[in-house]
């Protein structure tokens, strides 16, 4: 792979315009006070002035909140099924390393066993141009769960702010081709040195830590500790904010809509915070709130490690920042009792 490149700040718009010829480019954008990854407006890169991270994780570009799986038409000879058209390739510009890593975690269930064609088509058709996180939030704890503010393991290209522009490192061959085709200058040793400093400062900015040592076993051990879970769930409103804004949450519902002879099957995000999520006609295994909170915590920190060997959390801190009652996952994890000695 060729060496690192430098993108001068004044060339960035031209670069995004160039990439827009081959991709639908997504970039941070402000809508009603929320920061969302949306189709780039083609105007400027002013978002870099205020962008820290998106309110809603960029997973919505890969797993949309609502998507049509197929349409069906009732005709004389019976039902006819029609797939939605294929989508243009996408480029997510400015995704943070934590959110890119989250996609590798969501990939696991969607790739395992029967492949999910909708998710994987979008995922494979999307390039990730990440931005090293130079201004993390107090609530960020990525380094405790296997990531870091300039972790390049899940992006195609990692950009790091070096003052007068960005150091661009290709992390995959697709990222290398993207940079090679962009006619960029090679980075100088001084640029490289500035990037190293910026990354060091970012790493030092992650102040929050959790202890994940033995966490899986501690959770397994207290699975039936109803008192602990009731206490943990006490102030939760079951609003689902922590799941909808979580970059690794992927649960979905499937529903039909039909008007006369035309209909479609849709999938939409769902949440383990809602009791209807597991509601069966005559019973509900998670009717009580503490069972749902337990499911949320254990899914990420116990079941994901058991099934896939990784923690299902990237430490982006959104669930902490956005919770209306200040429920704090890091405090919950710190309060899990020590595993019972067997």
């Amino acid at each position: 792979m060729a060496g690192n490149k430098k993108i001068h700040s004044q060339d960035l718009v031209k670069l995004l315009e160039k990439w827009s010829q081959d991709f639908t480019v997504f970039a941070p954008s402000r809508e009603n006070g929320e920061v969302l990854m949306r189709e780039w407006d083609g105007k400027d890169t002013g978002f870099l002035e205020w962008y820290r991270n998106s309110t809603q994780p960029p997973k919505d570009a890969i797993l949309p909140p609502l998507e049509k799986m197929f349409a069906f038409h009732k005709e004389k000879e019976g039902y006819r099924i029609e797939l939605p058209p294929e989508q243009r390739r996408r480029l997510l510009f400015g995704i943070r390393p934590c959110d890119a890593r989250a996609l590798t975690i969501v990939d696991m269930p969607f790739k395992e066993g029967y492949e999910d064609p909708y998710y994987l088509a979008r995922r494979q058709g999307t390039l990730l141009v990440g931005l090293s996180c130079t201004r993390p939030y107090d609530s960020c704890f990525c380094t405790s769960v296997g990531g870091g503010p300039s972790d390049a393991s899940a992006v195609d290209v990692l950009l790091t702010d070096i003052g007068d522009g960005y150091l661009a490192e290709a992390a995959t061959s697709a990222g290398g081709e993207l940079l090679d085709g962009a006619g960029l200058a090679d980075a100088s040793p001084a640029d490289e040195a500035k990037a190293v400093e910026a990354k060091k400062a970012a790493l030092a900015g992650i102040g929050r830590k959790i202890d994940t040592e033995g966490l899986k076993d501690r959770l397994l051990s207290c699975f039936e500790d109803r008192e602990f879970w009731e206490k943990t769930a006490a102030k939760c409103l079951s609003c689902g904010v922590c799941t909808f804004f979580c970059p690794t949450c992927y649960c979905f519902d499937i529903n039909d809509e039909m008007v006369r002879e035309e209909g479609a099957r849709f999938r939409s995000w769902d949440s383990c915070a809602f009791s209807v999520y597991t509601q069966m006609p005559m019973e509900n295994p998670r009717l009580e709130k503490w069972r749902r909170v337990r499911q949320k915590v254990c899914h990420k920190f116990e079941f994901y490690p058991m099934n896939f060997g990784v923690i299902g959390c990237v430490g982006c801190g959104r669930c902490i920042r956005l919770c209306p009652v200040n429920w704090d996952i890091t405090r919950v994890l710190d309060s899990v009792p020590a595993a019972a000695q067997s």
Binding site: M69, F70, F72, K74, G78, Y79, I81, L83, P109, F110, E112, G113, Y114, E115, D116, P117, Y118, F223, E224, R226, Y250, C251, F252, D253, I254, N255, D256, E257, M258, G263, R265, D270, C272, Y277, T278, Q279, M280, P281, M282, E283, P285, R291, Q295, C298, H299, E302, F303, M306, N307
Partner: protein
């Protein structure tokens, strides 16, 4: 005993696992006032020839415009003329299904999930314990075993329902009662004017029947409350958790381990089940089922 977790062919329509095949209803049987059995076949002749499944597997059935719901395939793979599924009218999709008649088209994806471990069951004495509509997955296996009778030991069936009118698959119960090689006990929960047979809850009647655990496996399916009380009853008779098999039901959407909701601990009922040994789920079942 580990249940079988091999991934079986799911016959995805056009390579997309979420696209349903079109199936046509060929016969509707009223089992009880709230339970119906549907006989169906695929519209596509080629799929009709190629389709395979194992006892214990399930599928996602849909009424277009209303939605999808999971039910086991209740017929036996040894009987290939058509496929069957049965369900109680309880929600949106089942109510829409109950309105359908012969000739109606439904969506079908599957088969999904694992199956009863026939290789483990062969040569064993089998104790089937069922309640209500829970007989649907068991009857697929029972007919499978009956059609290969020489490969299995003694067969005992304990089946119960709340009232005589709630007994499903009466034609099967009659056939098994007449089969000299099967020990068949049918029970209802409480005394009833139309009933002169055994009375009592399934776990209690099972204890009275008292099948031996020697070289035996018990296969249990019914309402959660019945399943919960049947495991201790079997344990009292000397069955180990490895000798108890059940098939579970949860709210499901995708049927293939993606949508998230059907887990018991780290296991997904759709992906790792629906067939489990009690040994696999006993750590989680007290509070998750």
């Amino acid at each position: 005993m580990a249940t079988d977790t091999a991934q079986r062919p799911a016959f995805p329509a056009g390579g997309n696992v979420y696209l349903p095949h079109i199936a046509v209803i060929e016969k509707v049987i009223d089992e009880t006032p709230a339970v119906k059995t549907f006989h169906f076949n695929f519209k596509d002749e080629k799929l009709r020839q190629e389709f395979t499944f194992e006892s214990g597997q399930f599928a996602e059935y849909s009424v277009f415009g209303v939605g999808e719901a999971p039910f086991c395939i209740s017929s036996s793979p040894t009987r290939k003329d058509h496929l069957e599924f049965a369900m109680q009218r309880v929600g949106k999709v089942t109510t829409a299904l109950h309105r359908l008649g012969v000739g109606a088209e439904i969506g079908f994806r599957g088969p999904y999930g694992n199956c009863f471990p026939l290789d483990v069951l062969q040569g064993k004495n089998l104790v089937f314990v069922g309640g209500g509509i829970g007989l649907a997955p068991l009857r697929s296996l029972i007919w499978n075993v009956v059609d290969n009778r020489d490969s299995y030991g003694k067969i005992d069936i304990v089946y119960g329902a709340r009232t005589p009118a709630d007994l499903c698959f009466q034609y099967d119960l009659d056939a098994w009662a007449k089969d000299g090689s099967i020990g068949m006990v049918t029970t209802i929960d409480r005394e009833h004017p139309d009933w002169s047979g055994t009375v009592g809850l399934v776990p209690k009647v099972l204890e009275e029947v008292g099948p031996s655990p020697d070289n035996a496996v018990a296969i249990v399916c019914g309402p959660p409350i019945m399943i919960r009380f049947t495991f201790p009853a079997l344990a009292k008779l000397g069955f180990t958790p490895e000798q108890m098999i059940t098939t579970l039901e949860k709210r499901m959407k995708c049927g293939i381990g993606k949508c998230g909701r059907c887990n018991i601990g780290n296991l997904y009922v759709c992906r790792d089940g629906p067939v489990f040994s009690y040994a696999q789920i006993k750590d989680f079942i007290s509070s998750e089922h």
